[in-house]
């Protein structure tokens, strides 16, 4: 992987971080508000089902996560586990894809 590609990985990580900062802030406020008095499927779904705004929000959230998490893990794998070759990056691509797929599945799960 060229240094230039590594630079774009860094840019992608910081850009997705900025997006996630906003998403997480909204998500945290929503969670703190939602868990008051307990959590139920009915309550969650009442908020998200058929709501295009939440659909859009969580879709952006999922894709930002799918970019941010693997790039973050990349440094940990090379520095703390010693995994540095091409197979590491392949594994991370797969993990990113899994996160995206599972995430979109979850988003549509609650959108109905």
């Amino acid at each position: 992987m060229s240094a230039r590609t590594q630079v774009f990985l860094w840019i992608g990580q910081r850009a997705s971080a900025a997006v996630l900062a906003l998403c997480v802030l909204v998500h945290l406020c929503t969670i703190v508000y939602a868990v008051r008095g307990g959590l139920s499927a009915a309550e969650i779904l009442a908020r998200t089902q058929g709501n295009v705004a939440w659909l859009a929000f969580y879709t952006v959230f999922v894709f930002a996560v799918a970019v941010h998490v693997p790039i973050g893990l990349r440094a940990i794998l090379s520095e703390w586990v010693g995994w540095r070759d091409g197979s590491r990056d392949l594994a991370l691509w797969v993990f990113g894809a899994v996160l995206a797929v599972m995430g979109i599945r979850a988003v549509f799960g609650v959108f109905g």
């Binding site: 060229s2 590594q6 630079v7 090379s78």
Partner: protein
């Protein structure tokens, strides 16, 4: 007479600490302690020093696990209950005892394009640089580095990532990126980009914490990240 219990590293990468008892003096520095051991207790102890007044950086070692200049370290500041542990700088091959091989430190400096590339000749006028200009202020904040290796020794990313250029090399690259007379900016940015360059810095700030000249390589590395990103997005990298 008060004494100090001093453990000093003997050997190479493999070796062990050896115990010495050293008389405690007023205003004693750790370099004084090492020198006492070599002169009076064990002449086979290998160590480096030169100016002994905090200008050359030769006496850099670790004292109680922290990288520092031993000539500028008062025993009274670091000897908890009369004990000291003295070892060579970290992240460098140990030649013997307290002496390390600094070749890789300077090789990485060169790899980071840490040398000035000018365009004018002796027949042209000097270029006028205002000390107050934004770029020169960035340079001035980082230019006093004397290549002592303390930051390199303190950095965990250097330990975890063998190819990592390290704080000193990147700091020097930063001073040159901000030197408006230098003609090799893009080449230098390419040299310090990526996994072995500025992007491997995780802002531990151990370098900034330990630098005896109060330089913040972390600040310069952040600046390099910004400059590299700009160049990359403009398609210049």
């Amino acid at each position: 007479m008060a004494t100090l219990q001093v453990r000093i590293w003997r050997g190479t990468e493999s070796g062990d600490f050896q115990d010495f008892e050293v008389p405690r003096e007023e205003s004693q520095t750790v370099l004084d302690v090492v020198t006492y051991v070599q002169r009076h207790l064990d002449p086979s102890l290998a160590y480096r020093f030169a100016c002994r007044v905090g200008m050359c950086g030769s006496c850099a070692m670790t004292v109680n696990g922290q990288s520092r200049w031993t000539c500028r370290t008062h025993v009274s500041k670091v000897a908890e209950d009369g004990r000291l542990e003295i070892a060579p700088l970290h992240n460098l091959p140990v030649i013997r005892d307290l002496v390390t091989d600094m070749s890789e430190f300077f090789d990485k400096w060169a790899k980071a394009h840490g040398q000035f590339t000018g365009t004018r000749t002796r027949y042209e006028d000097f270029e006028s640089i205002s000390p107050a200009s934004a770029e020169r202020q960035q340079v001035d904040a980082a230019i006093e580095c004397i290549g002592c290796g303390v930051c390199y020794s303190a950095c965990d990313v250097v330990s975890w990532n063998p190819d990592y250029a390290g704080p000193a090399a990147l700091n020097r690259a930063w001073t040159l990126v901000n030197d408006v007379r230098d003609a090799a900016t893009l080449e230098r940015l390419r040299a310090v980009a990526g996994d072995a360059g500025a992007h491997a810095c995780h802002t531990h700030m151990s370098c900034t914490d330990r630098c005896p000249k109060q330089i913040s390589p972390t600040a310069g590395i952040a600046g390099l990240k910004r400059a590299i990103a700009k160049a990359a997005l403009k398609g210049e990298l």
